[in-house]
């Protein structure tokens, strides 16, 4: 998370790696740092972002699970 903050806090779409951007984690932290009222739009948004992040890591984990199973060499 701390590393993600080094990437900046500017939400924009760019393919230039030298420009600052904002990661999903940094966005959640940024919203949480302020006193977000319960049930406000920002409060609901961080859960949506969190869910998308979870789905992405879940997919990656499934792929890695599949790779380890596929290439595991069983001895004996």
């Amino acid at each position: 998370m701390i590393v993600a903050i080094a990437a900046g806090q500017q939400p924009k779409i760019t393919f230039n790696p030298l420009e600052s951007i904002e990661t999903m984690t940094a966005y959640i932290v940024q919203v949480s740092l302020g006193d977000t009222p319960h049930q406000s739009l920002a409060y609901k948004t961080i859960f949506a972002v969190g869910m998308l992040l979870f789905v992405m890591t879940f997919a990656l984990n499934l792929v890695s699970h599949w790779i380890t199973r596929r290439y595991r060499e069983v001895y004996e």
Partner: protein
């Protein structure tokens, strides 16, 4: 390997041309080997050098601020009066409560999976789930804590909510470490106990658990040392607060070391950045102490069969 090639070269000594090309080929292979070795060494050096530079830089900034006030004073607007007291108390409380929640549940799950569960699709599903939970970004646990503990259960931004969130975060690591330790107990010991008429409960409680305790404790301590370095989930549940008192109980609001460091770094004054460096040194010392304890316990309880 080398002798093989040499005899091969000796045998073909009559054929002058072949001899030379074989020697050249051998030389080229040795050179390739050396180049690869150098590449591998420089790969290690890059990591080591960056780590050392980072540590030296932090320690140099920290030295003037490593004084007794750092441990006895509360956070303050004035860097010369600011200290880590509330953060140290918060970290200690959080560590204690997290261990309290994650240890029994994690070990229980590990025992169930290793000693009781049958191998079927359900345990397979649980295993995939645990592996997946271990790889989920910590901020997602923070969101879970915010929704479940802070709002639904009404715990507020208390130590309790933070500790429960942290317990969930380290649970997969504790379960995996516990399972490894339990699996290391040879099945001959279980079978001997069963052979003497012990029940499953007696086998687990009197033999498997004591024998795997070293590994379980080591894994739990390593998991906890991950927990005290985590910032993101605690910021999400709202622990980034200016705390100028000692937490009196598990339902008080709190701050912890990494959050206090983060707080100081986000301030503009250079003095606070150096204070943050001092905080980092304190956090590193605590982490190293915990990891040394884990290594000590591993050596202490290590058994050979």
């Amino acid at each position: 390997m080398t002798t093989d090639v040499r005899t091969f070269v000796d045998q073909t000594n009559s054929d002058q041309g072949f001899d030379i090309s074989a020697r050249q080929q051998l030389k080229r292979r040795h050179t390739t080997g050396r180049i690869f070795e150098i590449l591998a060494i420089s790969a290690i050096l890059v990591g080591m050098i960056f780590l050392i530079v980072l540590l030296v830089d932090v320690v140099i900034n920290a030295i003037p601020w490593l004084r007794s006030e750092l441990f006895t004073e509360f956070p303050s607007r004035f860097p010369e009066r600011a200290g880590l007291r509330s953060a140290l108390f918060g970290t200690a409380w959080l560590l204690f409560l997290t261990a309290l929640f994650s240890f029994p549940v994690g070990i229980g799950a590990a025992i169930y999976l290793e000693e009781y569960a049958r191998k079927n699709w359900f345990t397979q599903l649980i295993e995939i789930n645990i592996a997946n939970l271990a790889g989920v970004p910590s901020i997602i646990y923070g969101l879970l804590g915010l929704g479940l503990f802070v709002r639904q259960l009404g715990l507020g931004r208390s130590l309790m909510a933070g500790a429960l969130t942290m317990a969930l975060l380290v649970m997969p690591v504790v379960i995996v470490a516990g399972r490894e330790a339990i699996r290391a107990v040879p099945s001959s010991i279980r079978e001997a106990a069963y052979g003497l008429g012990a029940t499953r409960w007696q086998v687990v409680w009197a033999h498997v658990l004591p024998m795997s305790l070293g590994g379980i404790l080591t894994g739990t301590i390593l998991a906890l040392s991950r927990a005290i370095g985590e910032t993101a989930p605690l910021i999400t549940i709202g622990a980034l607060t200016f705390i100028a008192f000692d937490p009196r109980g598990p339902f008080d609001i709190f701050t912890v070391l990494p959050i206090q460091i983060f707080n100081w770094i986000s301030l503009p004054q250079q003095d606070f950045h150096d204070l943050a460096a001092a905080g980092i040194v304190v956090l590193l010392v605590i982490l190293l102490a915990m990891n040394s304890l884990a290594i000590y316990l591993r050596g202490r309880f290590q058994q050979r069969w």
